[in-house]
């Protein structure tokens, strides 16, 4: 290295140091490093694996181009899993967002034991999904479960719940809504409390009623919160696994099989890692696409106050 180059490098380092840029990188280095090792590297590895036939124990990687992807689209079990995932997302995201908003509006008023009920609604969120799903498995039991006992009490016929291919997915959706509701409620509540009260006061003076205030003030001003909730809920809904694994293992007759469960089975039960990686990539692209779409679309409703 020439003396001039050394000097210029020293100058750059000195400048970076004087602006504390080096220090900043130093402080975030552990996080960047861990994120790189546990997130970025496996993601790149997954992308690469999706183009290979992977035989891990033999340490054999055979490049097969897009064969995993073409097999995937020809596989009716995967197509069924993708459809189930889509049904799950399209149902759970709007319903849990809507119910979350309703609850948030209710909790935005003053009433007796408000904090207690807020904690009650939020508690499923902090409960382990596996533990909660085990309890719900018993509640759905057609013989002893509380749901059928309640149906019987009101004179309605017992339902097979998780035992039926038609009812199993809706049963899982009901569980997931119960599980996520508290989170959406809290986020909406924070959004509601951030809306300046002057807007409501002005509208009231102008003679706007409760419903009109809700339609023309609350909903538009909650648009950023709604965007966040829709994106966050969609991402986690596309990745649904725990509750399906515990409640039905994908059955009956694959009626609750979802993409992540299928991916898990392919990778860890059949050891088709290349195929499973292709499934992961398709899911990733789907989530990314939906997220971008939601984000771009929501820009139209962006508000500042």
């Amino acid at each position: 290295m020439t003396r001039a180059r050394r000097r210029s490098l020293r100058q750059v380092l000195t400048r970076l140091s004087s602006r504390h840029i080096l220090h900043a990188y130093f402080f975030i280095a552990p996080v960047i490093l861990l994120f790189g090792i546990f997130r970025v590297v496996p993601s790149i590895q997954t992308l690469l694996y999706s183009f290979y036939k992977v035989e891990l124990l033999r340490n054999r990687f055979t490049f097969i181009g897009l064969e995993n992807f073409s097999d995937l689209f020809a596989d009716e079990i995967f197509r069924g899993a993708a459809l189930n995932t889509l049904k799950y997302v399209l149902t759970i995201v709007p319903i849990s967002a809507f119910l979350g908003l309703v609850l948030a509006v209710m909790f935005n008023t003053k009433f007796h034991l408000k904090e207690f009920f807020k904690a009650v609604y939020f508690s499923p969120m902090v409960t382990s999904t596996v533990a909660a799903a085990m309890v719900w498995w018993w509640m759905y039991n057609p013989q002893f479960g509380i749901f059928n006992v309640l149906l019987k009490l009101v004179g309605l016929p017992s339902q097979p719940w998780l035992m039926s291919s038609r009812m199993a997915l809706p049963s899982i959706i009901i569980f997931s809504i119960w599980k996520n509701l508290g989170y959406n409620m809290i986020i909406y509540l924070a959004g509601l409390q951030a809306i300046p009260p002057q807007f409501y006061e002005a509208a009231t003076i102008d003679g706007a009623g409760g419903l009109s205030r809700f339609r023309h003030i609350t909903i538009p001003l909650l648009a950023p919160t709604t965007t966040f909730i829709l994106i966050y809920n969609s991402i986690s809904a596309f990745q649904v696994f725990d509750q399906v694994f515990v409640l039905t293992s994908g059955g009956p007759a694959n009626s609750t099989n979802v993409v992540v469960l299928d991916l898990y089975r392919q990778a860890f039960q059949r050891f088709n890692f290349g195929y499973a990686a292709a499934e992961a990539m398709v899911l990733f692209l789907f989530i990314m696409g939906v997220t971008i779409l939601q984000y771009v679309y929501s820009k139209r409703f962006e508000v500042a106050y």
Binding site: L57, M163, G251
Partner: protein, 431 residues
């Protein structure tokens, strides 16, 4: 050399020498990975500190048993093998072997030892041991999982049936189930004549209806001993009849119901009079969960008089991974544990069925009614196919059973779809 350096070196030597001595004197440790909990109930001796005592003393080794969760052990073992950090001996479900062989995870047994074993064991054990042309990958456990029909003797008496005579044919089975079924005041079934598995993992559903499928002439894969290739043969008259049997019991006889999804639990709770599952599981659970239950067991019914009752015979198997740290010692330990003497000793102690023909000639196996009833099941014992595509076949058949029994497809349509998926799975696994 400076005094400080001398002091540092002396201290270092003082620290190193004892640890070198300890290392030289320490024993090798063989690790055995097995599924903990009720899954291996009745045959699980691994927690007994004396089990390996004699072998350990003779060979200056320590055998350490490590319990794993059954539901996730397959992937844990695979991940451990990929990381070259796997146990020396694995005690795994028979159904794992094909996938492990496909991935090159297992070490094959020496041909001469396999030959000697196959010549000395019972025919049904031979079926579970051999993976084509005398090839063996490990030793099947003693007291394997024999599936049997179990019935509640008190319910039989109450229904006017002979408690010591289970139904022999499908027709009799349907009649018995009708008589045993009970309803509440609203006419809802409160006790089923027969409880059957129709939810959960596909393998569980298929295992528990194996008796009817195979008994009627349906085959999951033919030829059954082909590791690669072959085709499914369950979409035939026998397969349709086997699925229709339960469907008729649900819809026509109303002697069973979809609302009793766990047959074993229902049987132990007294809300099912008959069920078919691994005998060892009922035997292990009954004293704890239903101590007063008076029950019997026997072969499942046959389609027509004169047929041989077909029953599933499976269980766990001891295998050695290719990358085991102490491979030679692991095989030695298994040879010792699976010797005729230990087979007799452990089976006698645990009331389990021995594998060696010679041990069946000794008491208590020779004349005790329990063992003799079990032995009577063996001529119809069928093992699960070893085909590399079996997973996919079982998924397909399990889904067909569910669709038919849940009234979501006709028996014909469900089996036709399953046949297509099963053949695809077999072909893909053979690639």
């Amino acid at each position: 050399m400076r005094p400080t350096n001398v002091l540092v070196m002396t201290l270092a030597l003082l620290l190193i020498i004892p640890s070198l001595g300890l290392a030289a004197a320490s024993k090798a440790t063989i690790t055995l990975w097995y599924p903990g909990g009720d899954i291996t109930a009745g045959v699980n001796d691994f927690v007994d500190p004396n089990l390996w005592a004699e072998f350990e003393a003779k060979n200056n080794v320590k055998v350490e048993a490590v319990a794993l969760d059954y539901d996730t052990m397959k992937q844990k073992m695979f991940a451990a093998a990929a990381a070259k950090n796997i146990g020396d001996i694995l005690f795994v479900d028979d159904t794992f072997v094909a996938a492990f062989v496909k991935e090159g995870l297992l070490d094959p047994m020496e041909d001469s030892k396999a030959k000697a074993w196959l010549a000395a064991v019972m025919p049904e054990i031979k079926l579970r041991s051999e993976y084509g042309k005398g090839k063996m990958w490990g030793y099947p456990q003693y007291g394997g999982d024999t599936y049997a029909l179990t019935w509640n003797k008190e319910h039989f008496k109450e229904a006017g049936l002979d408690p010591d005579k289970p139904p022999k044919t499908w027709a009799e089975f349907r009649e018995y189930a009708k008589k045993l079924t009970k309803r509440d005041a609203q006419g809802v079934i409160s006790r089923v004549g027969y409880a059957f598995r129709h939810v959960g993992a596909a393998s569980g559903i298929v295992h528990k209806h194996f008796w009817a499928l195979e008994g009627a002439g349906a085959r999951l894969v033919v030829p059954p001993d082909a590791l690669r290739g072959g085709k499914s043969a369950f979409n035939n008259e026998g397969g349709k009849a086997a699925l229709q049997l339960i469907l008729d019991m649900i819809d026509v006889d109303k002697s069973t119901s979809l609302s009793f999804p766990d047959p074993r639990a229902a049987f132990l709770k007294g809300i099912a009079s008959m069920q078919y599952s691994e005998l060892v599981s009922i035997k292990a659970r009954q004293p704890k969960e239903a101590p007063d239950l008076n029950w019997g067991f026997g072969p499942p019914p046959v389609r027509k008089p004169g047929d041989v009752p077909v029953t599933l015979f499976g269980g766990f198997i001891f295998v050695v991974p290719k990358d085991a740290q102490h491979k030679a010692l692991a095989w030695k330990a298994l040879e010792w544990l699976n010797s005729p003497e230990k087979d007799y000793e452990l089976c006698k102690k645990n009331e389990a069925t021995p594998r060696y023909r010679a041990n069946w000639e000794k008491e208590p196996f020779k004349s005790t009614p329990y063992f003799q009833t079990l032995k009577a099941l063996y001529p119809g014992a069928v093992v699960f196919p070893i085909n590399l595509g079996s997973d996919g076949v079982v998924e397909a058949v399990g889904a067909a059973i569910q669709k038919a029994w849940h009234h979501e497809a006709s028996v014909e349509a469900a089996l036709a779809e399953a046949e297509r998926l099963a053949n695809k799975a077999i072909a893909e696994a053979a690639k």
